[in-house]
């Protein structure tokens, strides 16, 4: 019998794999993709709790849709940054981006 715990454990595993990816990735694009994994894990968590223990599940699912909108805005900006960084510098490893031009 599948319970909410199964979904929470799945979301936790997804989050931890994403965390591992963020810590070990050496290219900026892979960092962005791993962050997307972590965001999706959080989404799955929110959906599970909205369906199992929220007073108004429909509101919880509505929040999830809005969260996906915010995540889409984030990934658009992040990928624009990846393109801009690759264009303006010769640094290839993500650790090299240690300075900001203000």
């Amino acid at each position: 019998m599948i319970t909410a715990t199964h979904y929470i454990v799945l979301a936790s595993a997804l989050f931890c794999i994403g965390l591992f990816g963020v810590m070990t990735a050496r290219s900026a694009l892979r960092v962005v993709v791993a962050v997307e994994l972590m965001l999706n894990a959080v989404n799955l968590n929110l959906v599970t709790f909205a369906l199992t223990s929220a007073a108004r599940p429909a509101a919880g699912l509505g929040f999830v849709v809005l969260l996906i909108v915010v995540a889409a805005a984030e990934v658009g900006l992040a990928l624009a940054l990846v393109v801009a960084l690759s264009r303006t510098s010769d640094i290839t490893a993500i650790d090299g981006y240690a300075t900001l031009k203000g």
């Binding site: 599940p57 429909a58 889409a72």
Partner: protein
């Protein structure tokens, strides 16, 4: 084991396999393809929860838009030579131990909670979700639209070729 349980394990295994593929793929384009597989499998997970709307949104936004955007970024960004693994600032072993420890702690915490059977849930239909978004939380919806517009303009400004310099 019901059909829903079997589907949960199938999509769950696919999701985790895709996530591992993203992290471990040797080439970036393979990582993006794994991202697509992961997002499609996650849409299946939402289906096992009985939420067709979220499954569709997941498929369109993540499976479609975000994956294609990542592919475009991969094409537009200059190809960078791979950095040897030993030059990474955090060793994969340290990162693996840290992520595994966090997973263990989260699993123990989740196992302590009383498990609510998912089969008993009646997921709200699309009309109920829509009446929440466009009713009580319509201001939130408007702000989200504004945020998308600002992010779109900001992305263009950031990624634009600077002709002046």
């Amino acid at each position: 084991m019901s059909a829903r349980d079997a589907l949960f394990y199938l999509y769950g295994a696919l999701t985790l396999a895709g996530a591992v593929g993203i992290v471990r793929a040797s080439r970036l384009v393979h990582a993006v393809v794994w991202l697509f597989a992961t997002m499609v499998a996650l849409a299946g997970i939402y289906l096992t929860l009985g939420s067709e709307l979220l499954a569709g949104v997941q498929l369109f936004v993540y499976g479609g838009a975000v994956t294609v955007l990542a592919l475009f970024a991969l094409v537009l960004a200059r190809p960078a030579p791979e950095v040897p693994a030993h030059l990474a600032s955090i060793s994969p072993w340290v990162a693996g131990v840290a992520a595994t420890a966090l997973l263990g702690a989260l699993t123990v915490a989740a196992a302590g909670a009383d498990g609510l059977a998912v089969a008993a849930i009646a997921a709200p239909d699309t009309a109920a979700i829509a009446s929440e978004i466009f009713g009580r939380y319509v201001v939130l919806f408007e702000v989200a639209g504004l945020l998308l517009t600002v992010a779109l303009v900001g992305s263009i400004v950031v990624a634009r070729k600077d002709d002046a310099s």
